[in-house]
């Protein structure tokens, strides 16, 4: 009975989003929505090209992955292969602390310190107080513990015998990690990366503060953009009437967000199943 709540919720979410999205598509052409690159929901003339928002989300998420993946992987290797008590006692608490910080705090850090004190001096006039880069950096920090913990589990699961066999042939520690452990753990590591991507895409509070509210299709990380999640927050904060097209657009954007994160989550599980190294 309680477990079926899960199914009810999933069905409920899908039904709700679909229903409202369909209503939205009665006002706005779905093709325009899915392929349009200009998003202007509150300012006339109204345009609902979701690609502007999607590109904002992807820009931030990509920067986050560029930062989070090496930091997370290297930390995982530290914990799994170079693990002494000293290392564990520093690395694990750091990762767990970062994981426990509410995301709003990271958003605050972005606009209060990162943008004015670090990014502005570096980029000068090319960057404003809001930028995809600022959001990407803090989200990258945010997802590092996720990548680290799943990758560490994957590496620890590699049997000791494999490492010993490599050492016995005169391999250095780095060679054992690079040529034996990582290849054997690759499915877990890849799954962690895809999961982290999903998390970065769905992140709200950190980007809402850091990235701004200017929906535009751009690949320049120094620009201010708007992500799907930030738009949802913006609409619900304001006074929008229930039946209005702006309100409905919220559901359509949420639908896109849901589909993307759901697909990424499924991909992550599939990667583990399909590419698991047998040992």
């Amino acid at each position: 009975m309680a477990a079926s709540l899960g199914v009810v919720t999933t069905i409920g979410i899908v039904v709700l989003l679909t229903y409202q999205t369909v209503q939205f598509f009665q006002i706005v052409n779905p093709i325009d929505f899915l392929t349009g690159t200009v998003w202007s929901a509150s300012i006339e003339p109204y345009k609902f090209g979701v690609l502007a928002l999607v590109s904002g989300t992807l820009l931030v998420a990509t920067i986050a992955m560029i930062i989070g993946t090496p930091l997370g992987l290297l930390s995982a290797i530290l914990l799994s292969e170079y693990s002494s008590n000293r290392v564990r006692n520093i690395v694990k608490p750091v990762l767990e602390t970062i994981a426990g910080i509410p995301t709003i705090v990271l958003g605050f850090f972005a606009i209060n310190f990162l943008s004015p004190e670090v990014l502005k001096p570096i980029f000068g006039d090319d960057i404003g107080i809001f930028s995809a880069l600022a959001g990407g950096i803090v989200v990258g920090i945010l997802i590092t513990p996720l990548i680290a913990s799943i990758s560490e589990d994957a590496m620890r699961a590699v049997p000791r015998g494999l490492r010993e066999g490599a050492y016995a042939m005169g391999a250095t520690k780095f060679e054992v990690v690079r040529k034996v452990v990582l290849p054997a753990a690759v499915s877990g590591v890849m799954a962690s990366i895809v999961l982290a991507m999903s998390r970065a895409v769905g992140e709200t509070m950190a980007v809402v503060l850091a990235v701004g509210t200017r929906p535009q299709l751009t690949f320049n990380p120094l620009e201010s953009v708007q992500t799907m999640t930030a738009f949802i927050v913006q609409i619900t904060q304001g006074e929008t009437s229930q039946g209005s097209v702006q309100f409905l657009s919220l559901f359509a954007v949420a639908m896109v967000l849901f589909v993307i994160t759901f697909a990424l989550n499924l991909a992550s599980a599939w990667i583990v199943r399909r590419y698991r190294t047998a040992y």
Binding site: V7, L74, I77, L78, I101, T204, V233, T236
Partner: protein
């Protein structure tokens, strides 16, 4: 011994150039990179904490905690937000506790190993990966609109409960599955019924893991803002939130509102509110450790 000579092997041995120095150097550089990674994380973490403390501490005093928010930063306080957060956490805990444990128990102990069960479990895993803001939209539609509760604290709590339930269930299932089979068999051997066995053998043994999972999920709930923004947490609340009526707000929302204003004073009180949140989260984490230690004391296997 006639006929024995020492000569190099008849077939010439394979030639190796082990290049040991270079390989070791590469290894050391790599190790350095790993240390640099954790160094960067430490620096970032310290920068964040220092920033919050430096900006926020000057604004943190008893008045701050005990007052209502105000248009003027100097007189603003977080009392409604603080009360809101605490009430929210309690209600979320009360909802999650029975539902989460019940679902976990069912899935881990009672459910037969069929496709349906596995589907339910996969479903829960998928729900754990849904962005929290989507739960907000769902909560808005169901609790606020459909059930007519309106944008009150309870709607927010119910929504957040949905957010953290999958995590609680997953953690509880793991804790339950970690109980050794021997414990269960021992109880059965003494003639216990299924429920008696679960109550006496499984639950106490899994309790530390379950309680830790719930408390940590509550810590997560205290920090969540996105779903509540959607559900309708108010921007400016000047009375203490009641669960079922009136507008409400919580600490993260308050931070969100203040942090959006560029004036240094508002940044200051935003940081002060963040300190309050971090203290709460810290207390909860500590509580989780204590609870885990106390409950584990009775387990030996």
């Amino acid at each position: 011994m006639a006929g024995l000579t020492a000569t190099p092997a008849a077939s010439s041995p394979p030639r190796f150039e082990p290049a040991l120095m270079r390989r070791k150097l590469t290894g050391t550089l790599f190790y350095g990179a790993c240390l640099a990674a954790i160094g960067i994380l430490i620096v970032a973490l310290l920068a964040l904490l220092l920033d919050v403390l430096i900006v926020g501490l000057p604004w943190l005093d008893i008045d701050f905690i005990a007052s209502m928010p105000s248009r003027r930063p100097a007189q603003a306080g977080v009392l409604p937000a603080l009360v809101g957060s605490i009430e929210l956490a309690i209600i979320v805990g009360l909802i999650t506790f029975p539902v989460g444990i019940g679902a976990a128990l069912y899935l881990a102990e009672y459910a037969p190993d069929t496709r349906v069960t596995r589907l339910l479990q996969t479903n829960i895993s998928n729900l754990a990966g849904v962005p929290s803001i989507i739960y907000g939209i769902f909560g808005l539609a169901i609790f606020v609109r459909l059930l007519g509760l309106g944008p009150v604290l309870f709607s927010g709590a119910a929504t957040l409960a949905l957010v953290i339930l999958p995590l609680v269930i997953i953690a509880s299932i793991e804790a339950i599955k970690a109980v050794p089979q021997a414990q269960r068999e021992g109880a059965y051997a003494l003639g216990a019924s299924r429920w008696q066995m679960v109550r006496s053998s499984v639950l106490p043994a899994a309790a530390p893991g379950i309680m830790t999972g719930i408390i940590l999920a509550m810590a997560r709930a205290i920090g969540e803002a996105a779903p509540l923004v959607v559900v309708g947490a108010a921007a400016f609340v000047t009375s203490l939130p009641q669960p079922l009526s009136g507008s409400f707000t919580v600490l993260p929302i308050q931070v969100f509102n203040w942090a959006q204003r560029p004036q240094a004073d508002f940044q200051g009180i935003a940081a002060a509110a963040i300190i309050v949140i971090l203290v709460l989260v810290f207390i909860l984490n500590l509580l989780a450790l204590v609870v885990r230690a106390r409950l584990s004391r009775h387990i030996q296997w």
